[in-house]
Symmetry: D2
Subunit: 337 residues, 4 copies
Amino acid sequence: MVIVMKHHATREEIQDVMAHIESMGFKAHPVYGEERTIIGVIGDERPVEPEVFDLLPGVERTMRVLKPYKLASRDFHPDDSIVKINGISVGGEQVVVMAGPCSVETREQMMETAAAVKAAGAHILRGGAFKPRTSPYAFQGLGLKGLELLKEARDAFNLPVVTEVMSPNDVILVAQYADVLQIGARNMQNFALLHAVGETQKPVLLKRGLMSTIEELLMAAEYILSHGNQRVMLCERGIRTFETATRNTFDINAIPALKALTHLPVIADPSHGTGKWEYVTPIARAAVAAGADGLIIEVHPDPASALSDGAQSLKPEKFASMLQEVRRVAEAVNRKI
Amino acid sequence: MVIVMKHHATREEIQDVMAHIESMGFKAHPVYGEERTIIGVIGDERPVEPEVFDLLPGVERTMRVLKPYKLASRDFHPDDSIVKINGISVGGEQVVVMAGPCSVETREQMMETAAAVKAAGAHILRGGAFKPRTSPYAFQGLGLKGLELLKEARDAFNLPVVTEVMSPNDVILVAQYADVLQIGARNMQNFALLHAVGETQKPVLLKRGLMSTIEELLMAAEYILSHGNQRVMLCERGIRTFETATRNTFDINAIPALKALTHLPVIADPSHGTGKWEYVTPIARAAVAAGADGLIIEVHPDPASALSDGAQSLKPEKFASMLQEVRRVAEAVNRKI
Amino acid sequence: MVIVMKHHATREEIQDVMAHIESMGFKAHPVYGEERTIIGVIGDERPVEPEVFDLLPGVERTMRVLKPYKLASRDFHPDDSIVKINGISVGGEQVVVMAGPCSVETREQMMETAAAVKAAGAHILRGGAFKPRTSPYAFQGLGLKGLELLKEARDAFNLPVVTEVMSPNDVILVAQYADVLQIGARNMQNFALLHAVGETQKPVLLKRGLMSTIEELLMAAEYILSHGNQRVMLCERGIRTFETATRNTFDINAIPALKALTHLPVIADPSHGTGKWEYVTPIARAAVAAGADGLIIEVHPDPASALSDGAQSLKPEKFASMLQEVRRVAEAVNRKI
Amino acid sequence: MVIVMKHHATREEIQDVMAHIESMGFKAHPVYGEERTIIGVIGDERPVEPEVFDLLPGVERTMRVLKPYKLASRDFHPDDSIVKINGISVGGEQVVVMAGPCSVETREQMMETAAAVKAAGAHILRGGAFKPRTSPYAFQGLGLKGLELLKEARDAFNLPVVTEVMSPNDVILVAQYADVLQIGARNMQNFALLHAVGETQKPVLLKRGLMSTIEELLMAAEYILSHGNQRVMLCERGIRTFETATRNTFDINAIPALKALTHLPVIADPSHGTGKWEYVTPIARAAVAAGADGLIIEVHPDPASALSDGAQSLKPEKFASMLQEVRRVAEAVNRKI
């Protein structure tokens, strides 16, 4: 950390701050400037809240020097991590495509969708059995029945399955059916849940919160990694801004920023990132062009009748043509699908 | 809902949309304008996602007419709800003051703080035993031991206690120690947790998420209310914006807006709302002037040594003088503390 | 500035950065930490973009130490500035009230409004002659005719006048009619305009941009101050956030933050800050409770027929009762109206 | 517009609202729902502020039906507009590349940069002579001298020139030197300036404000179009959000959204959109993959010595390799560079 002293801070205040720093086990190193004195704090600052120094007399503010995450950082793990899912490698040359309905609704819907996304070239099947819904009056998912339908489609089409887990209680159950555990955007800082999935060895797809910075996403990943599970994939799915023309603002910058800051694979979700099916294809192309390691796409055989997220779901034939377009972009950036 | 058709929508498209609406059990009522046709949808729209109509050919967009919440709405419950906590009424003439440390740290800290906030005039004691922390390396709270220390201070000073519960698993345990269950900002849309506290009869202090709209806050309250627990208090604690001069932006507008939209009491948290102890007193005064039914304030005997949130905690003597100032403002708006 | 070197920065990179710093006329002072080296840059950093150092090999990022503004800073001007407007002092004990219609529409409207706000106790008359409107099809203001009507009401009721100037071309003209020049939110970073009003000696009411930080507001003030005009008042009028229940989010935190950072008076605009007349009175009370030096309020004799901003305008009788309420709050915080 | 009446609105209130609507020259068409009555307002609502109806007794809120812009809308102009700049067509098959330094600094810098970007394949030269700077102490541009240097480079390398105009006063001057007039982000709602460039016949590059919605960008374009200048290009350059890992958040969604809503060409500015040169290439690739009609890129022969925006400027050789990468992506989406 670097502590910036106030313009009129006294010699005594500076000495007291330095004594306080050293009482905490750090070394203090002052730099006397023309208008301000600053004090470098030497040692591992991660467990400390920097704001706490702001309380000492004469201190103006405190700035972090170290990144607060370590296991997720590329500094300590320069090479890309590859997450293997039943033989599929995420984070390598291949752009991995996950697709399926927002919610598991019926056996017919799942089997039809799984057949279609498999035929189009998807690698992993998505589908929600436990659904986080803003309204208590909206469809809440089929629960266990949904997991069973997912499993059936999984086995029939040889597609690994990713599905959301919403409660620490459900982690063991969901892990019996799913190949990848998804942490939803609204649960990105549900620390009890992060702890629970961190204790499994299942791959985790960690979605960025609507309201979360890139650094907070990496800290959420750090929770999972620090509890022993190294198989974490990050997912950019759009953030909340003042713009209302789209449901969310897909943060395309997050893709190169994450690739620079962390070794973990980065998946893009243009369905939630836009909220409108018409924009899913161009944003999927853009995400791959920016360097995403994978896509997760909502597909439904009859979006207008979907029980959730119909407006952002692609019909199977549209999904197939999207994948054709994305494949060309992937090749243009030396990747393959 | 109102469906807005595209500029060039055909007669057939309009008829198909109307047929679709009626097939869902609604009545459809078209209004033919000069540039656009709109179609009113008559019936209870709450279980439906309006965006799903946007998929029908010729539709430009769909707008909600009804508010998505009902139990929380003042329309259906015009009188203010009063939440009683061991004889203290929240939501009436009195401005209720909750105070205490961010985290329960030691027996001495809790007893000293409880004595001080009681002497200054606080009504309810706060303190965190389970702490949601952005970093897995930061202090995570004392857990059960913290609950026991809280209970001891509660009984010694006859102060009801509010404390956070982070996981559905812990609800029964925490309810044995606490008089009020707090749902933290990061868990405002942890629906499994809302469901669990909705099934207790304990008062709930529901904090607004950092980037949650007022409507989403009311929908989260609706979850609790619809599961049978009517004793809900809402808490404005600052939202995330582009401004970085303060930790959060305290949304003072939310106070009159919530008082207009809902019958539930509204508590203000100027400690999190600002993140800086110097600003807590003016924002506490402002919140009461705007109509808040209560305050929740972080107080610590030695903020510079606090294990969390030291920078926004008041020392006991500062808290006492704050309360003096706030009392005068409360009287100026015909309330009392 | 403080330059943070990368984790693996080499000895040569550190030396090259230090040489670069010294070639720019600064002194460089390294602090060798456990994981990172940081380099303090000694000298007046204000004319330099800190990001430029990020380009040097081995640099991770650069952090400012000094505030970028100087004339506006309380560090260099510890006492409150008082702006005098025809005998009215803004920034002292009195809370100054500015009121009037959004737009000047007719002679009758101006005279009626001026009479009403004067009778209720307002000190300064507002009214727009040049109107910045989002739509080219909306009423654009009466221009010169509006200035003349304002002047007539000014003289009839002995009320100084504040009105917006939108173009550098119009500064001299508007200054002939107005006692205070208003810079609107959308022009807060119209640097040609700031320059032009900085060369007058008229008091300036500088409104914060919808999405401008407190620091940017102070930098805009610095433009005016550095061109020779010291009579600057700042105005918090709500910022743009994700919340849509109100037109803007009134940043109440900005009031104590500005009072801490600058010596300039701070005016609150609860009309734009909320966009709804029902919320204007509680937010006016809150702003004064938080320490605002003045209020600017939209008042119209017939809001439903107003040519602009009707929804946030108070009727004269409502304005009078608002002022009664605000007066009690002002007294509770040792101010007067 | 659609007016939503309150839950308990009376028959008289509904009739009064309808009478008010008709007194304004509209037709009123009520739809009686189960919980609410809504009233359709028939006629051209564009000159009216919908909020004004909220003031009438019994009204809950009012929603727009029509888009507030017309000339910029694809509804009224279905085919793509092509803006011709000295033989270059913007908005057609070709992706147009504009490149050059943030600021014009010296004759050598301009000639060297122009030579390099021409050689790499850029079509248009950019460079700022009048610079909007947050700080009054920062370099403000060379002004007229800068325009002359731009012109010299323009003629030497046969590259049309785009440069910013900041004040209505300067429009005629700048138009003598520039082929394209740029309106900067901070001036997007400088209506006097929009009016002035609307009266020229020069092509305009209109940058989206940091804080502006897509609809407001289109309304700003509408100002220019409605004053007679049809040669408008829109520029997405990143918006301000809560994220601080990048300077701005490049709103990639805006590209397909604008292409759907308007016929005007859309240019992407990944330099400002990211603020970091390392991210410019991936975001340039993404923008073209999403459908952008052009790019504007900051290039400087020695970014570490640039007087502005060095951190986001590419060196000429990096720019050349970027263009190679972007060309492959352009071909993958059936465009060319």
